[in-house]
Amino acid sequence: MPARAAEPFRFCSRLSLTVLTGAKAADLRELLEHLRAVPESVIYHHTHRFLQQHQHLVPEPPNDFAYWVTEILNDEEFGERLAAIDTVRFNSLEELRQALIASIEERLRNGCDSRPVPTGKEFHFMRAIRFSLLTEHEAWDLKGFSEGLRKVSISSLYLHIFEARLRPPLGINDFSYWFKTQLGETRLSEQVANLDPYTHTLEGLRGRILGFIDWRLKEGSHAAP
């Protein structure tokens, strides 16, 4: 195990500013029409917002579309299916959009259209302006990583765990990638990659990852001559 990485891990924070597009849907057909046309930043907002907010609510409502279909259209069955779309499985927002569209199209093909909701209950499309902030925390080894992870905000965890999967190298979170490529920590990398993010709050995720690292550090110290 290399004691020190060639490249440090630099913790960043992700914040976002919400822009209201003015587009809104009163039924499933309108929802579909807008979903086809909106920019990816809209898909991002409505599928990732819940991961950053409501950190004390577990399980999280996985995306705004599922929430609206369930709570406002009162279509619990379809809401459940939209909720089951695994946001973090997709390697691009476009893939995620297509999965949402396919689900709604199938629902409409089966004749399950909805009546328009009353004024005030429409689905409002929003997009996110993303801010990436380089924090002062960086790590060259596991101990330093553990110290940094304790100090950074949950927005930083969110960025490195969830959003990392949407940019190259695709499909892997930043922590796992760094553990594997910089420290040769394959098992630790897999442990973090295998965490189901939906069953933890962000604080809970932080605790689990710190637990894995502490365990590895103890293991390492026992193995030392």
Binding site: C12, S13, L15, L17, T18, V19, L20, T21, G22, K24, P39, S41, Q53, H54, Q55, H56, T119, G120, E122, H124, M126, I129, R130, F131, S132, L133, L134, T135, E136, K151, V152, S153, I154, S155, S156
Partner: protein, 408 residues
Amino acid sequence: MPRLEEYRALVGADTLEELYLLARPLRGRSVLHVNSTAVGGGVAEILSRMVPLLHELEIPTRWEVVKGGEDFYAVTKKFHNALHGDAQEVSPRDYQVYEDTLDQNLAQMDLGSDIVFIHDPQPAALVKKRQALKNRWLWRCHIDLSRPSPSVWEFLKPYVEQYDACAVSAPSFAQKLAIPQIMIPPSIDPLSDKNRELEPEQIAAILDRLHIPADKPLVTQVSRFDRLKDPLGVIAAFQKARAHVDARLLLVGGTADDDPEGAQVLQEVRQQAAGDPDILVLCLPPTSHLEINAIQRASAVIMQKSLREGFGLTVTEALWKGKPVIAGAAGGIPLQITHKFSGVLVHSVDGAAYWLKQLLSEPDFARRLGENGREHVRQNFLLTRHLRDALMLFHFAQDPSREMVRLG
């Protein structure tokens, strides 16, 4: 005023670090806030806390108030009600009074800051000077714009579209506009006199001084005396619920400089409450922050039965104090309360009466609502989150075309 470091224990070191990171590239850029009243109402309260913190982040910030006569405020109150969706008769002369007053303000005000942040419709037309100044202008609308009266909105819209961006409190307030609309919910300051922790002895002393008996559970609505806050509906709901529970209703309010209707509504409320020993009506000066804090903390249930609402900061205050809240499902209130999870949303006098009876009878359920509400406010509606959004908005205003902003 508290310094940023004093928020560390409440919001965490990471939150403060994000504020410093966001502010660093903005150091030295000047900001001017303009609204219509220096005291009274949520906007003045937010600005009184926000302005010193921006200074502390080395962003020189001024705050000015538009000046106008009674006729101006009568017109802007009509605008306010009309934008909330109430039918109002606004005459050509009213529009002229508005324009003339703002022209007089334009002649006197220094609007040369890098970023000019205008709050609500009262000073909105100041933007006509923007072309000459070439600086960045932001319009903050704190009121519920979801169903604006068309005539007043058509008058204001051309002004609004001269701004670089506008900010609203809830998704349903978005309008078809040619400028970006940003969602920024307002906030409360957990360290202000209105929201900080108080000792039980302090609370008891304040209630004693205000002659509020503590012999029955207190049901309280804290609000301006304004028809859109439905104080008469609160009295009706309380009187219905009292058939089943013993409690005392407290209607606490005041009037703001820019609200000429307040005195009339207060009179109507007093008439309605007359002769009922279990209804107290308190008109407090706008600086009674500690008193409001103590009253909210002493209450068993807080009501905010608004028919229209901007965001409903009195709801935020009550939730932060861990109180069960019964509130009208209006404006930004549903963003704060998930029905039966972090409070109760109602649509009628009967609904309010039903839930009042329930919450007074089931204190354990009421306590859980309050606990969830406090946590929701901690995460989403404290001043530090608001300051963070304002800083991001300033970055956004510099180049609205960016989808991603990298700092550091």
